[in-house]
Amino acid sequence: MPRVRPFALMLVVCALARAARAEAQTVDLRMATLEELMAIEVTSASRREQRAEDVPAAVYVITRDEIRRSGLTSIPELLRLAPGVQVARINSNKWAVSVRGFNGRLYSNKLLVMVDGRSIYNPAFSTVLWDTEDLLVEDIDHIEVIRGPGGALWGANAVNGVVNIITRPATQTSGGLVRVSAGSFDTSSVALRYGNSLRDVHYRLFAQSSTYGESVTTQGANANDHWRSVTTGFRADWSGARDALMFQGSATSGRQRPLWFGFDSVSTPDVGWEAVVSETTATDVVARWTRATTAGSAFQAQAYFDHAHRDEAVALYGRRTWDVDAQYHTTLGKRHDLLGGGGYRYISESMQGRGPYTFLPNGLSQQILNAFAQDTIGLVPSRLELTVGTKFERSTVSGLAFQPNVRLMWMTSSRQRAWAAVARAVRTPSLIDLGVHVEYPAALAIPALKLRREIAPVAIPVFVGGLGNPDFQSERLINAEAGYRLNITRRASFDLVAFRGRYDDLQTFEPLPPVVQLVNGQPVLKVLSQQENRLRADTYGAEVSGRVQLGNRWQVDGALASFHLTPHLMGSLDPSLPGYDSHAPAYQWRTHVAMPLSRRGQADIHFFHTGPIDSADVPVIARLDARAEWSLTRQLSVVASGQNLLRPSHLEFNGDKTVLESTQIPRSGGLRLAWRF
């Protein structure tokens, strides 16, 4: 099969970088003829590498070219390019990103995200805290977005999807790069990168400093939520005859004004919320060793350490993670392609509550052991493939989890693929689920409590709040899906997926009986709720994407996704559940047109449309982005881009009203200059 972008890009199924090896070590390359060179077998040495179109799952690969053509520079924003991903910017420095629903409550907790094989899913907040994920956009090779359960390979919390962000090997980033940008919302940034080699070790060093402007409150005022982030890091790659080594690390520090509700301003309830400065740091190092043992077999071991620290209005949070994992990929006979491995992770977290928040326990140490195995069986060679696999994961906090999947891929012709899959996945309880305790005066909480009619004005102060639950269980999904892919010609392709899911033991907030307590000698009425697992939900939906390339420099592509959820209350009294749609729109779509501007320029127009989110009072969002790039010389390029061009500002999310203020995202524009030497 010819290598055709973007659908023929190699997909590294387990998020580990590509490394291929050639066999036949006896050939002397100096003397070899062309015919001899063409006979050398090049085999893949990674965990298991497949072309995206051959994977029996809902996969979309955001290529480097798509990234560049989007004009977007932060990771959560880039995820807008994949079909079925709901990206909602809450304010200048917070995002809610989810796949197939469940973007609601405080956080999106069912999407696992990895950067070069390292999980960036925060185990205490059960979400990705995007404000500390600061990469140079030029270093991203591609982003794999897999919708649907990925627990059989990736483990817990890959319930609704997995995102694998893969950075470029240092061999492909040699030389220097200086990039400066200025804009109205992404205010300014400077990035520096230098790559070179010392003998056969290739490396790069990079640093980036960015500042971001303010969003707009729903009343139209400046939201005072500007922020900045500084990141530095390195990556080194070495490869020999059979082995490859990779070592990388980065450190990021940021200062945000995230618009937490101002609990300190209890005496002035009309303030409602205020900007409280947060300080964050995140550091990580990753080492990886890949060895090609024999033709078609490979072993890989990886270890990483990360450290995170967040000093915020609600808590002082710290985490250290140590992770090692190993895997082996081989073939058995002509029909079996085997992949197996295991890993160990140790996570140590501390969470000191602030203001009205306390956490009990205020720290958690967790050990997670896992083992997985997968067999891909060629039922009819290069026609019909059956994949069966599972992961067993044992956590000292949440116990044993079993996440199997069965997948069938039918290659009806070289141009058509049809597949189906059934899988199970779990979302494990976090420190917050188990032990949060928050109480605050009701005056501040009224926006969140409009459904709670039982709270009438009373003579004594009312405190509302929520409690975690030490008996909180894992949330579970069993999902069935099927897909069809068609490459009409080399230049046009089409992908369709339909899914159905059944979720059990979903998180609910059950009202506790109101109690009167004496606080500082004053009687206070406390109306609290506690986390339980009393919701079942059925979901269904479909995702479609397509691409037509019209000549070398014209392209039209687009995607459409629909989602529907039916809640079933299992004795739940959670007042927010009637009408619950998991803060996901019933439909969303996007389209993109790429065109040449002149011989040395190109332009792109992106349109995004998101249906209304009724449960969160978010209306339809229509967003237009445009971008133009000119290569002045081979070394120098300039990019002009604009986002949200249709309206002065718009609201994208309103789902976390009790803790975080959602604001409007303004229209913005910017200029970027990049110099490579």
């Binding site: 010819p2 290598r3 090896r21 050639a22 050398i40 070219d65 492909q172 005859a241 070398n552 081979r634």
Partner: protein, 175 residues
Amino acid sequence: MAIVLSTLSSQTVLTAQAITPPALRAAFLFNFAKFVEWPVDQPDNGPLYLCVLDDSAVEESLTQLLDGAPISGRSVTLLRSVRNRPLRSCHVLYVGDSDAERVATAIEELKYAPVLTVGDGETFARGGGMIGLFIEDGRMRFAINPDAAQRAGLKLSSRLLNLARIVKEGRHGQS
């Protein structure tokens, strides 16, 4: 003893010569040069310059590969730091898998220049480059865009063309 050991180990390195994809690409690059005729106005007996843009692994492999063996009686030299030089100083240029726009700019710069451009993927040849290397069925193959070579005044031998997949530029390609 120490001398014996180091000799032994260097021999081991030679026989177990790593054939990584970058090494294989470098070997193809070196080989392609044997099947190209540059226009006569080029200095005839001067060295043949090979260059690599944006792929330090291929550049490194080429360094190890070039041991002074001449091609058609001309000495072969790897021209380094080509990022900041005019690409026309090269006879053979390998363009790494960089941003599409950067690759296109390099191709554009060399449109009428007698430089054999080699890149990654069949798309490289379809986009106006001369030879695109790609992996198919576990083997490395290459696609040739004869129009691009002809435009630049390069003559490719029929033996080279016979081994290649012949492609044309996209209908609305580099114009």
